[in-house]
Symmetry: C2
Subunit: 218 residues, 2 copies
DNA sequence: TGAGGCATAGGGTTTTTCCCTATTAAAATT
DNA sequence: AATTTTAATAGGGAAAAACCCTATGCCTCA
């Protein structure tokens, strides 16, 4: 019990990041050894610095936390991943846990929650924000098995791109113009993506986009 | 130069709030004298504690920062208001300044930015995040006069309702069914709202909805 | 080497949106 | 009190967009 827990911090809002850093560093047994403002940089730094734990915001530009989690898991299975998020949605939780995260803390929660979570995860436990535990207990566990493994096949880059633009309010035609593709191609991507996600309406696309954090300011 | 600057902090994410508090309190000439997780509570506390400055997140539940700013201005014209936000959009900036805020800092900016802003605003200056200054200089100043005062008339309840549902991906027909109105009525509300806002496309509606924080998770 | 996923796109039908106009009631202005 | 403006409702008809079905190269992987 001599060394401090070495923590890598990935969060795109600098002010928030600084706050978390101060909080973590105020703990006697923890230390922030690096910071990244983006998922891509985060995994590079993780590969390099080999932290005990990567504390990561789920919604970051370029590479979001979900993809970054998968990517890092492919590189290392020992580095712990604790995700920090605003989302209380079950589906999202499912995804991130499935991707190999060790814990999930809400930004809304008390700072002590975060510290507790870091300790728990570093000790080898899974940590779920108490506000979410109930949800998970109530039904999701049963479905978890079926989701793990095959999942509902990931969308391709193009499909994601198209859905994102649709959610933003662009028409298929406008998207076609923007990507220099025929409207028909856009329609096909849209339709395939929706089939894959098992959704059927424009509102479902928007809902999906919200969960993916595509509809933030910019 | 004896007393510390007394700061009231309004921000709904507790982790973020704690971070900012640590940051502010780490300054020798500043002190967080109260915290609120919601706009309504914030103005009550402000009336009570009479802080030098209210540092407020624009996007909070119940009463958002924009409304809270207007409300507080009606109570006191001496308490400084510094808004903290993720939004870089000009229109929003316009609104919040118009409502009587003294400064506007982006969450993305460096923590020192925030500290600088607090000092500037408390000294009686207006403070705009450098990342935004250029935008304001480039064209908005000219339009500002016309906007101030009559503004682009607020939307009615119905109009807001319709725009919100449109942003969520519902078709005019679906909205009509939901509100038990004719499609034609929905079309009219939509069209009027867009004219009032000076916007022309579906994407503008989505952008507006994002700024209104209508498209958050739930 | 063949099965399936991916990216691309056309044809034709159905659905939705857009533009203009209209009625009534309530609110603001003069 | 009379007039003007705004809000909420809605129709008709033209234009645009979305939807459903089908199709073609191109890879990859078993």
């Amino acid at each position: 019990m001599s060394e401090k827990l070495r923590i890598l911090l990935a969060e795109d809002h600098e002010t928030v990041r600084e706050g978390i850093k101060l909080l973590v560093n105020s703990q006697p047994d923890m230390e922030v050894i690096g910071e990244a403002g983006d998922g891509e940089i985060a995994i590079k730094m993780a590969a390099d610095l080999r932290p005990d734990l990567l504390l990561m915001d789920i919604s970051m530009p370029t590479m979001n936390g979900l993809r970054a989690t998968k990517r890092l898991r492919a590189i290392s299975s020992t580095i712990k991943i604790l995700t920090l998020t605003r989302h209380t949605d079950d589906g999202y939780l499912q995804q991130i846990i499935g991707a190999g995260a060790n814990g999930y803390v809400l930004k809304q929660s008390a700072p002590t929650e975060l510290i507790t979570a870091i300790r728990a995860v570093c000790a080898g436990n899974a940590y779920l924000d108490p506000a979410l535990t109930r949800k998970v207990m109530g039904g999701y566990a049963s479905r978890a098995g079926s989701l793990r493994g095959e999942g509902k096949g990931d969308l391709t880059e193009r499909e994601n791109e198209v859905l994102r633009l649709i959610a933003f309010g662009y028409s298929n035609k406008e998207i076609g113009a923007q990507l220099d593709l025929s409207v028909k191609t856009i329609e096909a991507h849209k339709s395939n993506a929706m089939r894959k996600l098992g959704i059927a309406s424009r509102t479902d696309i928007v809902r999906y986009a919200i969960l993916q954090n595509w509809l933030q300011d910019n």
